[in-house]
Subunit: 191 residues, 2 copies
């Protein structure tokens, strides 16, 4: 697929086939992600791959509980609709995706957010290029339980930046609307 | 170009031909960048394009001065080699690139860094796809002078996340070394 096709094809997908992503393919995505640039080529990204539905559900429940608590403690402000979605025991914030990739790194890395976001974009493109779909589920990042973090191989010094779900799309939604690029200024050569 | 070729071809380039990037091409890159995902499809990215060498030099000088001052005030800690590079009046932190794109957005957007980084990765791929090269010059983000910020169309409420230089590469360096993906855990379905 050429890049302009890929640009059009990459979509946030929230509905997946009940079909596992072969681990070999996940490893290819992560291999591609290593090619992403990082500040001073520091390569701070650490990955954890979850292909167990029970664990994905536990991670969803942990994230839901933490978001609800943060909202109650006024650390964040979520809409009533969103809170009722989170309070629903049926809610899986990772939808029905068969695979979840966490991108994290050491908290002290100043550029961790952008470094991980760049790796995430590589994974999203690399997945789309293979007929897979992804979605960055920001609400799935709130994993504080030490046992769950240990399962993921993350200690208290790691910060989770990007939870990406990956799978074969059951339905591909229409592209969401985009505004024209918001160009504030174009400064051209004085003549 | 297909995506795996593009993956290999995208490179941080610091040496450019003395040849302007047509504004139409820059606009295409920014159009492609609008397809990047953003949290809640909020599309917070704001762009400013500088194709005037005198202004690029002024932005470099402003960034250099602020980095030197921040280092003296112990807000950041730069190596002596780096400081002497910055103190050299000949230093242009944007190398000899003919075009500079700033990606910025409103400070209060919680996800601004990752949203802008995703847009930056789209621009880097879209540029590579057109035979252009780019480099994210983090040290070029330190623009505080109100007059320069006004020229860029940014007020005090905007935060500059990604300064990207764009141009036709004079020399393409070898790919910088990458470690294997650092996979902390793979959690597979219990059987």
């Amino acid at each position: 697929m050429n890049f302009s096709e890929l640009l059009q094809k990459r979509r946030a997908v929230r509905d997946y086939e009940d079909r596992a992503v072969p681990l070999k393919v996940v490893e290819e995505l992560l291999q591609d992600a290593t090619l992403a640039p990082s500040a001073s080529n520091n390569q701070p990204c650490r990955f954890s791959v979850v292909q167990c539905r029970k664990t994905i559900r536990a991670l969803s429940d942990e994230s839901r509980a933490n978001l609800i608590r943060d909202n109650e403690e006024k650390k964040i402000q979520l809409s009533p609709e969103y809170i009722s979605y989170l309070k629903n025991e049926q809610t899986n914030v990772f939808y029905n995706a068969p695979c979840l990739i966490y991108i994290a790194g050491a908290r002290q890395v100043r550029t961790l957010e952008v470094d991980c976001a760049l790796a995430a974009s590589y994974i999203m493109f690399a997945a789309a290029d293979r007929g897979l779909a992804t979605c960055w589920v920001a609400m799935g990042a709130n994993i504080r339980d030490p046992q769950l973090r240990a399962q993921l191989g993350f200690d208290e010094n790691h910060r989770i930046v990007a939870p990406l779900i990956v799978g074969y799309p059951a339905a591909v939604p229409a592209a969401s609307a985009r505004r024209a690029p918001q160009i504030m200024r174009v400064i051209t050569e004085a003549r």
